[in-house]
């Protein structure tokens, strides 16, 4: 079966939010979008024994004595190999998914070796974004471990001539309690490998009380390597005989080289040659941006050579983009009627007759991901085949774009995945990996493409710029009887389809159509906006601006009514229920609404926990100190955040404490989950304080951390307390849901402290630093 067939057969999650909006463009409908079962079948017996074709890439798990699944192998020495098929970027997935396999296998974690998968559809989807790794793969992982465990128990039972049902396991051993006999997994692996692979129904999966690792967690598999400089990131990958490349990209998206002079560049010591990369054919999608590559013996020489290039650019139509003017247009569009995405009752009639109407507009500029490790990849093209090593969130998309760019079969592309020095969504777009492959073919050697920080900031897939308008009619007690909200932003789909100006249901389903308030007249709209830069998903995606508008406006209404913001928020959400979205196109992050409804009782609970733990209402606020609250459900997880601030007379902001309450259903690895929410508060701080990408005549104005500052230790929250709700609900997202409520909670706290309402980010625009 070819890789393309494997992919077509692979049953992806149903439309998994934004990712699929984009993926539609280049996968051309190859993905099934309806079914739910994952593709990861246990390998048939015939496929065992090392018969796996080379192009698939074999793993230690494949080659182990017992290997009943693509994800796990048990060797005769007792070593258990577990394949991590999704990308590690600090999310902990390389630890948490293998832990689930190890749990059902009842393996000793100290005897487990985790190996990173190459891009390969036999594992199912590998695009590590959208906070759904655990949710989508917990069953697959449990089955993988459970399958091996059953086979080991059966092998032991046959040897002891007892019923398999009388055997149990205990930490890497099969045990027959009645006689006290024990056999280690290693000793049983060969015999177990001769047994038929059991069907899913025949597995004896553990019940919750038997779990050894799930819900308890473990520190990072890579912890020591990460603390000693031994961990290998994309920046650290090397191939024999490789050369280094720095690419001068067109300053304006879609620009072309009109003419260039490379004489001075070629004089730089260590520079070998200058190579042109063709401009992309719109839509940009994941194609290389085009431009000129300086090929050199080391990174420094490549950077120096690039500085000496003299290029005349033909900028093309995107040179009209000036973000200051664009902002005005966006805010204007947001004030005019848009496309209706959800409609209940009659907001217009209610606004007509109401004597008390409040409206407000909110705005967040473009943001850049700025992972600490800029995009980087090394690739070798040889004899019609490509091997790449890179820090990618999406090895399969890297394979796709390389095959497409070099016009070679997908099976001829092998993409190895290193650790990622941060991702935040940037590294699920593999344009830089394609650059390395294209350049390798041109220069006839392995090429390592290194993006500088300036490349990263100036040539990103930007979090979209957005304008929101919200209007409410209020009754005598200050409670809304009608609510209209409209968001306007160039959509992610524009990167994958030329001229796309409206948001997809996927974008709007990120915190906009799913507003959980109990209001009889409610309308949700979206206005059109043209994209002039590549728009891409960034950690938490549209939830960032949607939560900012809704949760800031809610706080405004609470203060207008003279009410306590926590009590008011609880009332807005209303009675315990599942929010009715029957008449709304709502993808629910690709999950079935029956399994993951919007449960207002869970929203209430996290608000109450955050309020109680923070001592809400018990402390005197004002005069420069304040607390703010916000709540938001995203990636199926419920989060309430209380932020404490101090703002002095000069606008100097300090964030002494953050309290975050999280209901994410079953949490596999609580300590790592806590870390994700601590980090989300810092990520949110960067967005709120200083996150702003602007453009002049189509070119991005910012370039490095001096003009695109991110939060440093003194600016970040001094301490974030995370409270995880103990829950029997199915697992939900961890990596992203912490960011959206943080930003409005911070701004609401600033209002409480200073009386200054923040409707436009970043805070640096308001002399708050």
């Amino acid at each position: 079966m070819s890789a393309a067939e494997r992919r077509a057969n692979a049953i992806e999650r149903p439309l998994d939010n934004v990712k699929n909006v984009s993926r539609r463009g280049f996968l051309k409908g190859m993905l099934s979008t309806g079914a739910l079962i994952l593709s990861v079948h246990l390998l048939p017996r015939e496929a065992r024994g090392g018969a796996t074709p080379i192009s698939l890439g074999t793993t230690h798990a494949d080659r182990a004595t017992l290997h009943p699944s693509a994800f796990v192998g048990v060797d005769s020495d007792g070593t258990v190999y577990i394949v991590a098929h999704r990308s590690e970027m600090g999310n902990g997935v390389r630890t948490s998914l293998p832990l689930i396999v190890a749990d059902e296998l009842d393996a000793d974690w100290d005897r487990v070796k985790v190996e990173q998968a190459i891009g390969d559809w036999r594992y199912g989807g590998q695009d590590t974004d959208g906070s759904h790794s655990i949710r989508d793969f917990i069953d697959v992982m449990r089955q993988a471990g459970g399958t091996a465990r059953v086979m080991l128990m059966e092998a032991a039972a046959a040897q002891w001539k007892v019923a398999p049902g009388d055997c149990e396991t205990d930490l890497h051993e099969v045990v027959h309690r009645a006689t006290g006999r024990k056999l280690g997994y290693g000793a049983l692996a060969a015999a177990a490998s001769k047994l038929p692979v059991p069907r899913k129904e025949a597995l004896r999966l553990k019940n919750k009380s038997q779990w050894r690792y799930i819900g308890k967690g473990h520190s990072s598999y890579d912890l020591e390597a990460l603390c000693t400089g031994k961990a290998i990131f994309g920046m650290d990958a090397r191939m024999d005989g490789m050369v280094y490349a720095a690419v001068m990209h067109p300053p304006v998206l879609g620009g072309k080289v009109k003419s260039y002079d490379d004489k001075e560049a070629l004089k730089v010591r260590g520079v070998r040659q200058v190579v042109a990369i063709d401009p992309f054919q719109p839509p940009a999608a994941f194609q290389p941006l085009g431009g000129l590559a300086v090929i050199a013996d080391n990174t420094w020489a490549a950077f120096q050579g690039r500085k000496k290039l003299a290029v005349v650019w033909e900028n093309g139509p995107n040179a009209v983009y000036n973000s200051a003017q664009y902002k005005k247009e966006l805010l204007e569009t947001a004030r005019a009627p848009g496309k209706i995405a959800r409609n209940t009752g009659n907001v217009e009639a209610e606004f007509e007759k109401s004597s008390h109407v409040i409206e407000a507009q909110y705005y967040i500029p473009h943001l850049a991901h700025a992972p600490m490790e800029p995009p980087v990849a090394v690739a070798e093209y040889r004899d019609g085949k490509v091997t790449a090593w890179t820090c990618t969130q999406n090895a399969q998309a890297a394979q796709d774009i390389i095959a497409e760019q070099l016009k070679i079969p997908l099976d001829n592309v092998t993409c190895h995945v290193t650790l990622l020095g941060g991702g935040f969504g940037r590294k699920s777009k593999p344009d830089y990996v394609a650059e390395a492959a294209v350049l390798s073919k041109k220069v006839g050697r392995p090429v390592k493409v290194v993006w500088s920080r300036e490349d990263d900031i100036k040539f990103g897939y930007y979090h979209t710029v957005s304008a929101m308008y919200v209007k409410a009619a209020l009754d005598a007690k200050g409670k809304p009887t009608a609510w209209l909200q409209r968001s306007v932003f160039p959509p992610i789909a524009s990167t994958f389809k030329v001229g796309e100006r409206y948001a997809a249901a996927d974008d709007l389903g990120l915190g906009w159509t799913d507003i959980p308030y109990d209001i009889p007249n409610l309308r949700v709209e979206n206005g059109a906006a043209t994209a002039y830069v590549r728009i891409g998903w960034l950690r938490s995606v549209a939830n960032i601006y949607h939560a900012f508008a809704i949760q800031s406006f809610s706080d405004e209404l609470a203060h207008a009514a003279g009410r306590d913001p926590v009590e008011y928020l609880l009332e807005l959400i209303g009675s315990p229920r599942h929010v009715d979205l029957k008449d709304t196109e709502y993808p629910n992050y690709g999950a079935a609404y029956t399994a993951y409804p919007i449960d207002t009782a869970r929203l209430h609970r996290v608000i109450q926990i955050a309020a109680e733990k923070s001592g809400w209402g018990k402390r005197k606020m004002g005069n420069g100190t304040g607390m703010g609250i916000a709540v938001h459900r995203s990636f199926l997880t419920y989060v309430a955040t209380v932020v404490e601030v101090e703002v002095d007379n000069h606008g100097k902001l300090r964030i002494p404490r953050v309290h975050t309450a999280v209901d994410a259903g079953l949490i596999t690895n609580p300590e790592m989950a806590r870390a994700q929410f601590e980090g989300a508060a810092v990520f949110g701080t960067s967005i709120a304080r200083s996150g702003e990408i602007t453009a002049t005549n189509g070119a991005i104005d910012q370039s490095n951390f001096y003009d695109y500052p991110v939060a440093r230790m003194p600016e970040a929250p001094q301490h974030t307390d995370v409270y995880l709700v103990d829950s029997d609900a199915p697992p939900a997202g961890i990596g992203e849901p912490g960011v959206p409520p943080f930003v409005p909670a911070l701004c609401n706290a600033i209002f409480a402290a200073t009386g200054k309402r923040i409707r436009e980010l970043p805070l640096s625009k308001h002399q708050i630093t």
Binding site: E88, G90, N91, G92, S219, S220, D222, L223, E224, A225, L226, C227, T228, G229, K230, A231, I232, F233, M235, D236, R238, Y244, R269, G270, N298, T299, W300, F303, Q304, A370, P371, M372, E373, L419, L420, G421, G422, G423, F424, S452, R453, E671, A675, Q676, E678, G679, V682, F683, N704, F705, Y706, V710, A711, R712, M713, P714, A716, P717, Q718, T720
Partner: protein, 154 residues
Amino acid sequence: MIRLKVNGIERSFDDDPTMPLLWYLRDELALTGTKFGCGMSLCGACTVHLNGKAVRSCVTQMRQLENAEVTTIEGISAKGPHPVQRAWMQLNVPQCGYCQSGQIMSAVALLSSNRSPSDQEIDEAMAGNICRCGTYQRIRAAIKAAADATHERG
């Protein structure tokens, strides 16, 4: 020809004297624990010790390094994890981990000049090291833990 010591080993360098130490370490010596983050001394990912002091290797040119002693993350962990690294592990500091070599090198330098830094002193000393994952509160706690551990050993 520039002669220097890297992690105690004698080295000689005969290339572009304006090359930053960072790229010599990474591309020539394959000491990849030291990371590239910004190239402008803004993020601290490339922090190493030059004659015992923390410097940003991305702006330290090779021509400045005649007879210099350079220590990288690989150098401080040669004889097993350093107390600061142990504290980092105890508190599960890293997320993606990319910046942590630089963070650890800055922390080691801080503790060598200030055996029990206050929160504010830690914030000031570490403000040059960016962590985009947001591990700052654990970094602060790990520095204190390492300081305490050093005191206990006397």
